[in-house]
C-alpha cells in the first residue's frame, strides 16, 4: 500500500485541522505574478517587487476634515496641543512626538493562536500628516513573498517606534517579531518598540458600561460609528486561504477594507480617549476611571483635579470619596483626608469602601492622633460591620486588621 493510500484509509485516526478552502483549481498561475492585476489596481493596490518577490501595496488618503465616528481626524492636532500643555505623566501622553510620528497600526493573520506558523498577511498603518491622513496596507499575496512584505513595511514605515494599536502589545507585535525572525537576515531590523495600546485604555474607561471591550463594540457605543457591509475579522483566515488557492481579489478586498476601518477607528479613539483624560474633571462618572489612572501614575495633583470636580458636582459615591481621601493622604493633606474618610464611614453603606475608610481612620487615630481608644473603636467597628454585612476585606487587609485589633486590645489592657 502506498503511503498516501494508507493515509487515506487511516483518515479516521488522523487529527483533522480546521478545513480551509476546497481543493485549488490550478489555473494558469505564473509563479511570482499577481493574478487579476487590473482589479487590484482599481482597488488602489499596486504590486511592488523585491528580490524576486512581489507584494501589493494599497494606499488610501483622507482629508483632515473627514469625520469618522465622534471626531474628525484633524482634531488630533488639537488634542496634541492640549497634551503638550499637560505636565503630568500619562501612558497616552505623546511627550515630544508630533502627530505624524504616530503609526496607527493593525494586522490580519492566518490564525489567532500565535506560534511560528501563524502568518501575518496584512500589515496596515495610518499616519496623520498636516494636510491628510494616509492609510498604507502591505498585503502578502502568497506565503513565499514575506521578505518583500517586511522589506517594504520596514523601509517605508521606519518610524514605527510609535505604534498605536488595539491589543498590539500582546498580539500583533509579538507576531510581527516572530515572523520577522524568520526573515531577519534579509530585511531591516525591527525598530525599538514603543506603544500606545488603546485596548488597555478602553478597559479602564469603558469596561463597566460595555458588554465587552472589542473594538467593534467600542466603535458603536463610544464612537457612535456603525460599519456597513463589514467582513468580520474571524473570517479572515478562511478568506485568505481561499485567496491563496484561487487568486481572486474579491476574497480578500473585504478584509483590507475591514483593516482600514479598524485603523481609522484607532485615530478617532485616540482623540476621544485623550479628550476624556485631558478634561479637567468633567464631574462625570468616567472621571473616576481617569482619576484612578492618574493615581496609578502617582500624579496626585492631577487626579485630585478630577476628584474635586466630581465631589463639587455632587458625587457622593463612597468609592469616589474614599479614593479622594487616599489621594489627599498621599499629598500629606491629612486633615482633609480624614474628613473624607469620616464622611464615608458615617454614611455607613454596606460597601467595601466603608470598611476601608474605617481602617484608614483607625490608622490615623493610632499613629497620628495617638488616640488608641478611638482607634480600637474604629477597628472593632470595621470588624463587626464586616461580619454583619457579610462584606470581606482583601485577605491581606483582613490580616492587618486582626493584628491591629490585637495590638490595640493589648495596649488597652496595659494602660487600664
Amino acid at each position: 500500500m502506498s503511503m498516501k493510500n494508507k493515509l487515506k484509509r487511516m483518515k479516521t485516526h488522523l487529527q483533522e485541522e480546521t478545513p480551509a478552502a476546497p481543493a485549488p483549481p490550478e489555473e494558469n498561475r505564473e509563479e511570482g505574478s499577481i493574478l487579476h492585476l487590473e482589479e487590484w489596481k482599481a482597488f488602489g493596490a499596486v504590486p511592488k517587487h523585491y528580490d524576486g518577490e512581489t507584494i501589493l501595496k494599497r494606499t488610501v488618503t483622507y482629508p483632515l476634515d473627514y469625520i469618522h465616528g465622534s471626531a474628525s481626524f484633524g482634531e488630533l492636532f488639537t488634542v496634541f496641543d492640549r497634551w503638550q500643555q499637560e505636565p503630568a505623566f500619562h501612558p497616552l501622553h505623546p511627550e515630544g512626538r508630533r502627530p505624524e510620528d504616530l503609526l496607527f497600526f493593525d494586522t490580519e493573520t492566518t490564525g489567532l493562536k500565535g506560534g511560528t506558523g501563524t502568518t501575518i498577511f496584512l500589515l496596515g498603518g495610518a499616519r496623520v500628516y498636516t494636510d491628510r491622513v494616509e492609510v498604507s496596507q502591505y498585503f502578502l499575496p502568497g506565503p513565499e513573498h514575506e521578505v518583500a512584505l517586511y522589506h517594504y513595511f520596514l523601509t517605508e514605515c521606519y518610524s514605527a517606534e510609535n505604534l498605536v494599536t488595539y491589543n498590539g502589545k500582546s498580539f500583533d507585535w509579538p507576531q510581527v517579531q516572530t515572523r520577522h525572525t524568520l526573515v531577519r537576515n534579509q530585511v531591516p531590523k525591527l525598530p525599538a518598540f514603543g506603544h500606545f495600546d488603546l485596548l488597555h485604555a478602553s478597559r479602564r474607561l469603558f469596561a463597566e458600561r460595555l458588554e465587552s471591550c472589542r473594538l467593534s463594540v467600542v466603535e458603536r457605543d463610544i464612537l457612535g460609528f456603525v460599519r456597513q457591509d463589514d467582513t468580520p475579522g474571524y473570517l479572515a483566515p478562511m478568506l485568505y486561504f481561499d485567496y491563496v488557492n484561487e487568486g481572486l481579489p474579491e476574497f480578500v478586498t473585504g478584509i483590507l477594507e475591514h483593516n482600514e476601518q479598524d485603523i481609522l477607528s484607532l485615530i478617532t479613539l485616540y482623540i476621544d480617549i485623550s479628550k476624556r483624560i485631558l478634561a479637567d474633571g468633567t464631574g462625570e462618572k468616567q472621571s473616576l476611571a481617569v482619576a484612578k489612572w492618574f493615581d496609578q501614575q502617582k500624579e496626585w495633583t492631577k487626579s485630585a483635579q478630577h476628584y474635586t470636580a466630581m465631589v463639587e458636582n455632587g458625587d457622593e459615591d463612597g468609592e469616589t470619596m474614599h479614593r479622594y481621601g487616599l489621594n489627599l493622604k498621599k499629598q500629606h493633606r491629612y486633615a482633609e483626608a480624614v474628613s473624607w474618610f469620616e464622611k464615608v464611614w458615617e454614611r455607613n453603606e454596606d460597601s467595601r469602601y466603608t470598611l476601608e475608610a474605617g481602617v484608614e481612620l483607625a490608622k490615623w487615630e493610632e499613629h497620628q492622633a495617638k488616640h488608641p481608644e478611638r482607634a480600637l473603636l474604629y477597628a472593632a467597628g470595621v470588624q463587626s460591620k464586616a461580619e454583619r454585612a457579610g462584606i470581606q476585606l482583601s485577605t491581606g487587609k483582613q490580616a492587618d486588621l486582626h493584628k491591629r485589633l490585637e495590638r490595640l486590645m493589648h495596649k488597652r489592657g496595659r494602660t487600664s
Binding site: 500500500m1 502506498s2 503511503m3 498516501k4 494508507k6 493515509l7 487515506k8 484509509r9 487511516m10 479516521t12 485516526h13 488522523l14 487529527q15 483533522e16 485541522e17 480546521t18 478545513p19 480551509a20 478552502a21 476546497p22 481543493a23 509563479e31 511570482g32 492566518t110 490564525g111 489567532l112 493562536k113 500565535g114 506560534g115 511560528t116 506558523g117 501563524t118 502568518t119 502568497g142 506565503p143 513565499e144 517579531q177 516572530t178 515572523r179 525572525t181 524568520l182 483566515p237 478562511m238 486561504f241 491563496v244 488557492n245
Partner: protein, 770 residues
C-alpha cells in the same frame, strides 16, 4: 520492644518454616568497590575545586569516559547507568565546562517527567553555586511563571524540560528561543529507555523537529544520554535521534551488598498447580518489615493493586499518631502536589513504606530504601533492575524480594533466576515512522518551518505526506516549498503520551455540595476501569462509579465500602485489510499487515477481595472503539485442522495464545497491554483458525512486526516456558485453565509448538515480501 534490624529479618526469612521453603533462590551480589579514574586533564579548575569540596577526588570510570567522549571528542554518548551511580556528572561536567569556555553556549535537558527536571535543577544549581560560576539553569514547564519565561528564553544557559513541553510550547514558538537554538551545544536526554513504544515513537519525531530547527539556526548539538540497562541502548539512542553514538558502559560506581530473593508462594492445589496469591504474601512480608520500621517500597503492576495492598496495610497508619502516614500509595492519577509530599516524606524518612506502580521506577529522588518487594515480575528485566535499584544505599546492605504470581512469565522467571540475573535479552523498540505519528509531527514541523521539495524529515521522504496534507488543505505548495496554511495550532491537538487525546476526569461527589476532582485516566483504561458501577480505588478508599459521562469525559464517583473489586472484559473483532508479508509452511501460514480492530467492553465481573471468587456481573454500555493497526498472525489451513482434529487444534491454539500473551511482550519489551493476542477459530479474512497479535496503537508501533520477524525466538520462549512449568497437565501458569478437556492438553500444546518450530527450521527460506 527493640526493633529488629534488616540482618535479623533476613535471618528470620531464612529459618522461618512458613517462609524458608518458598525461597527458590537466594542470590547475593557482593559489595563492589568503586572503580575510579583521575580527573580528565582538560577538566576545568573550578570544576575540580567544586568536586574536591564535595569530597570527590576522582571520577568513576564511566563518568570519566563520558567526559572524554562528550567534551573531548564531541561524540554523541549513551551511558548505561544503574540507579544511584552518579550519572548526573556524566552530563553536567561536559555541559558546565562548555558554558564556562563559551558563555554563549546553551544546553537543553530532557527528562521524561516534570518532577525529574525539578529535582535535577536543584541539584545542578547547588553545584553551580559551589563553583561560583555565573550559569543560569532553569526548568521550563507548565509550572514556570510567565514573568520569568522571557528571561529563561533569552538567558537560560541550561533549560530543563520534558518532551511534551518541547513539543507543544518550545518548538512551535522557536523564534522566541533564538539565543538557545543558535548556540545549542548539548542536548541531554535522561532515562532514554523510557522512550519506547508509542511515547518513544512520538519523542523520536519531536527530536527530528528539534534538530531541524537547531540546524535552521546553524547549530549541530552533541547528545549526551543515559539509559537503564537494556540490550540495545546504542541502537535505541541512534533510532531516537538518527545520529551515531558511542556507548559508555564501564560503570565504576560502588555498591553495597545486595540480597536478591526469588520467592515462590506455596502450591495450594497440586493438580492445578495453583499457588497461594501474591497479594497475601506481599502483605505479610511488607507488614513485617514496616512494623520493624525498615523502610520498604512495594512495587505492583497496576493502579488497582496499589490501592488493594494499601488497604491491607492501612492499619499501620491507624496506630500512628500525628498527621503523617506511615505507609502511602504512589501512582499516576494522584495529583502532583500529593506526589511531591510523598517524595519528600520518603527522603526525610517520615514515610516508612510506599506502595507504588512503576511510576517510581524513574529517577524521582526518594533517596534509597532498605527493602524492595516486587509483587510479581514487573514485565521486563530492565524494569525489574530499576525497581531493585530503589533499595540499596551505597554503604549498607539491602534486600530485594521478588514474589512470583501464578502468571506463566513469573513462574518462568522465578525458575530461571540465571536468565534474570545474567542475561539481558530485552530490546527497546520504537517505530518513529508509524504513519499516524509521522503525519502528526510533519504537520507540527510544517507549522514551525516550511518544507522544501528536497527536504527529508529525519531520514524519511515525506513528499507523500505533504501531498496528502495539501489535499487536506493544511499545507500549500508554492514554488519549491510547502507552507503551513491553516488557522490551527497542530501541537495542541497531539498528545505524546497516549493514543487517546482526552483524559477522563474523576469527580468525587460523595458530598454533593463539595464535589472535587480526585484524579484522571486515559480514555482506553477508562473503558475498563471507570464504566458505570465499577469500583475505583483511590488512596485506599473505594469509590463506585455512579455515572461515566463518555461524551464529556467525566466519571462521577461516590465513596463506598464493599468487599469486592470489578474487572471488565473487552471483546474484539478483527478484519485483515492488507497482507504486507507472508511466510508459508506446510501446516500454517504466518502473516503481517494492516488490520481493523473493533473493541467493545460489554460485561464486567465482581470479584471478592479475599477469595477472588466471582460474585456477580453487570453490563457496560459504551460505544465501540475502532482501531486501524498492524498485526501479525498465524493461520491454519483445512489440512492442519483435519490432521489435529478441530477440538484438539482449538485447545492447542488457546494454549499457545495464553503463553504468547506473556512471552511476546517480554521479547519486544512493551507493556503486556500494548499487544493483544486473540485466537479465533474462524477468522473473517481467511475463514480459518487464526491467532492474531496486534499493536494496541493506531498504525502500529512496530511490536507485531518485530514478532513476525522474531517468530522463531518467540516460539522458543513459549516452548521453554511450558517445559519449565512443574504442573502435570497444564495450569494457569502456562497454557491457561480455560481449556481443560480430557487428555494431556499440556503435551498437545507443546507438540503443536514443536511442530511449528520444526517446520520453520526446515524452510527458513520460505519468507518473502509482497
Amino acid at each position: 520492644m527493640k526493633k529488629q534490624s534488616l540482618q535479623e529479618l533476613m535471618q528470620w526469612m531464612k529459618t522461618d518454616p512458613s517462609i524458608a521453603p518458598n525461597i527458590e533462590f537466594w542470590h547475593t551480589v557482593d559489595e563492589r568497590p568503586a572503580k575510579t579514574a583521575a580527573y580528565p586533564d582538560q577538566l576545568h579548575e573550578r570544576l575540580r575545586a567544586g568536586l574536591a569540596a564535595r569530597g570527590i577526588d576522582s571520577l568513576y570510570t564511566h563518568q570519566h569516559s563520558a567526559f572524554e567522549e562528550a567534551y573531548g571528542q564531541k561524540n554523541n554518548v549513551v551511558t548505561i547507568t544503574p540507579t544511584a551511580s552518579g550519572k548526573t556528572l556524566c552530563y553536567n561536567l561536559p555541559v558546565l565546562q562548555t558554558i564556562m569556555d563559551e558563555p554563549e553556549a546553551r544546553a537543553l535537558y530532557l527528562f521524561p517527567t516534570k518532577a525529574l527536571a525539578q529535582d535535577q535543577k536543584s541539584e545542578i544549581n547547588e553545584f553551580i553555586e559551589e563553583i561560583g560560576a555565573s550559569i543560569n539553569s532553569y526548568t521550563y514547564d507548565g509550572d514556570t511563571p510567565p514573568t520569568i519565561r522571557q528571561s529563561i528564553r533569552r538567558a537560560g544557559h541550561i533549560v530543563m524540560t520534558n518532551p511534551d513541553m518541547l513539543h507543544s510550547a518550545i518548538l512551535p514558538h522557536h523564534t522566541k528561543w533564538v539565543s538557545l537554538f543558535e548556540h545549542l551545544r548539548y542536548i541531554v536526554i535522561d532515562e532514554i529507555h523510557t522512550y519506547r513504544g508509542v511515547f518513544g515513537s512520538h519523542v523520536a519525531n519531536v527530536l527530528r523537529r528539534l534538530l531541524r530547527i537547531a540546524r535552521y539556526y546553524g547549530a549541530e548539538p552533541t547528545f549526551i544520554t543515559t539509559s537503564a540497562t537494556i540490550a540495545n541502548p546504542r541502537e535505541l539512542a541512534e533510532t531516537l535521534t538518527e545520529q551515531p553514538f558511542t556507548l559508555v558502559d564501564n560503570n565504576g560506581a560502588p555498591q553495597g551488598k545486595k540480597h536478591f530473593v526469588f520467592y515462590n508462594p506455596p502450591v495450594i492445589n497440586e493438580a492445578m498447580n495453583i499457588r497461594k496469591g501474591v497479594l497475601s504474601e506481599v502483605n505479610r512480608l511488607a507488614n513485617t518489615f514496616l512494623e520493624q520500621h525498615v523502610q520498604t517500597i512495594v512495587f505492583t503492576k497496576s493502579r488497582v493493586m496499589v490501592e488493594v495492598i494499601l488497604s491491607h496495610l492501612q492499619h499501620l497508619n491507624s496506630r500512628q499518631t500525628g498527621q503523617q502516614s506511615l505507609v502511602t500509595g504512589y501512582r499516576g492519577g494522584y495529583l502532583p502536589n500529593q506526589r511531591r509530599a510523598i517524595e519528600e516524606g520518603l527522603r526525610s524518612g517520615d514515610i516508612m513504606g510506599v506502595i507504588s506502580t512503576n511510576a517510581l521506577e524513574l529517577g524521582v529522588d526518594i533517596g534509597q530504601l532498605q527493602v524492595c518487594i516486587m509483587s510479581g515480575y514487573p514485565g521486563s528485566i530492565a524494569s525489574a533492575w530499576q525497581q531493585a535499584g530503589r533499595a540499596g544505599r551505597r554503604q549498607s546492605e539491602s534486600l530485594i524480594v521478588m514474589i512470583a504470581s501464578s502468571n506463566p512469565i513469573d513462574q518462568y522467571m522465578i525458575q530461571h533466576s540465571d536468565y534474570f540475573l545474567e542475561k539481558n535479552p530485552e530490546t527497546a523498540r520504537i517505530h518513529p515512522d508509524n504513519l499516524i505519528i509521522l503525519v502528526d509531527h510533519v504537520k507540527c514541523a510544517a507549522f514551525e518551518l516550511p518544507f522544501r521539495d528536497d527536504d527529508t524529515f529525519g531520514g524519511v521522504d515525506v513528499r507523500d505526506v505533504l501531498e496528502y496534507l495539501s489535499e487536506e488543505n493544511v499545507v500549500h505548495h508554492r514554488g519549491s516549498k510547502w507552507y503551513w496554511m491553516s488557522d490551527a495550532f497542530p501541537a495542541h491537538g497531539i498528545s505524546l503520551r497516549s493514543a487517546s487525546q482526552e483524559n477522563v476526569v474523576i469527580i468525587d461527589q460523595t458530598v454533593p455540595s463539595a464535589s472535587k476532582v480526585i484524579g484522571q485516566m486515559d480514555r482506553f483504561s477508562a473503558m475498563t476501569l471507570l464504566h458505570d458501577e465499577a469500583i475505583y480505588i483511590h488512596q485506599g478508599v473505594q469509590y463506585q462509579v455512579v455515572y461515566l459521562d463518555w461524551d464529556e469525559k467525566k466519571a462521577y464517583v461516590e465513596e463506598v465500602r464493599v468487599d469486592y473489586y470489578t474487572d471488565a472484559n473487552m471483546a474484539v473483532e478483527l478484519k485483515v485489510l492488507e497482507e504486507d508479508k507472508t511466510a508459508g509452511y506446510p501446516s500454517y501460514h504466518a502473516g503481517f499487515g494492516d488490520v481493523m480492530v473493533h473493541a467493545k467492553v460489554t460485561i464486567f465481573k465482581k470479584i471478592k477481595l479475599t477469595t477472588f471468587e466471582n460474585i456477580g456481573s453487570g453490563t457496560v454500555h459504551l460505544p465501540e472503539e475502532e482501531l486501524h493497526t498492524n498485526a501479525c498472525w498465524l493461520h491454519f489451513p483445512e489440512e492442519t485442522v483435519r490432521e489435529f482434529g478441530r477440538d484438539t487444534l482449538e485447545q492447542a491454539m488457546m494454549g499457545l495464545a495464553n503463553v504468547l500473551r506473556h512471552t511476546a511482550p517480554v521479547r519486544v519489551m512493551c507493556d503486556p497491554s500494548d499487544i493483544h493476542v486473540v485466537p479465533q477459530m474462524k477468522a473473517t479474512h481467511s475463514e480459518q483458525p487464526t491467532i492474531f497479535l496486534y499493536d494496541r496503537y493506531p498504525g502500529g508501533v512496530g511490536l507485531s512486526s518485530t514478532i513476525f520477524t522474531d517468530l522463531p525466538d518467540v516460539l522458543r520462549d513459549c516452548a521453554s516456558l511450558i517445559e519449565a512449568c512443574p504442573c502435570h497437565d497444564g495450569c494457569p501458569s502456562c497454557i491457561g485453565s480455560d481449556i481443560m478437556l480430557s487428555g494431556n492438553t499440556k503435551a498437545t500444546v507443546l507438540a503443536f509448538i514443536h511442530r511449528l518450530q520444526a517446520e520453520q527450521e526446515v524452510s527458513s527460506t520460505g519468507e518473502h515480501e509482497k
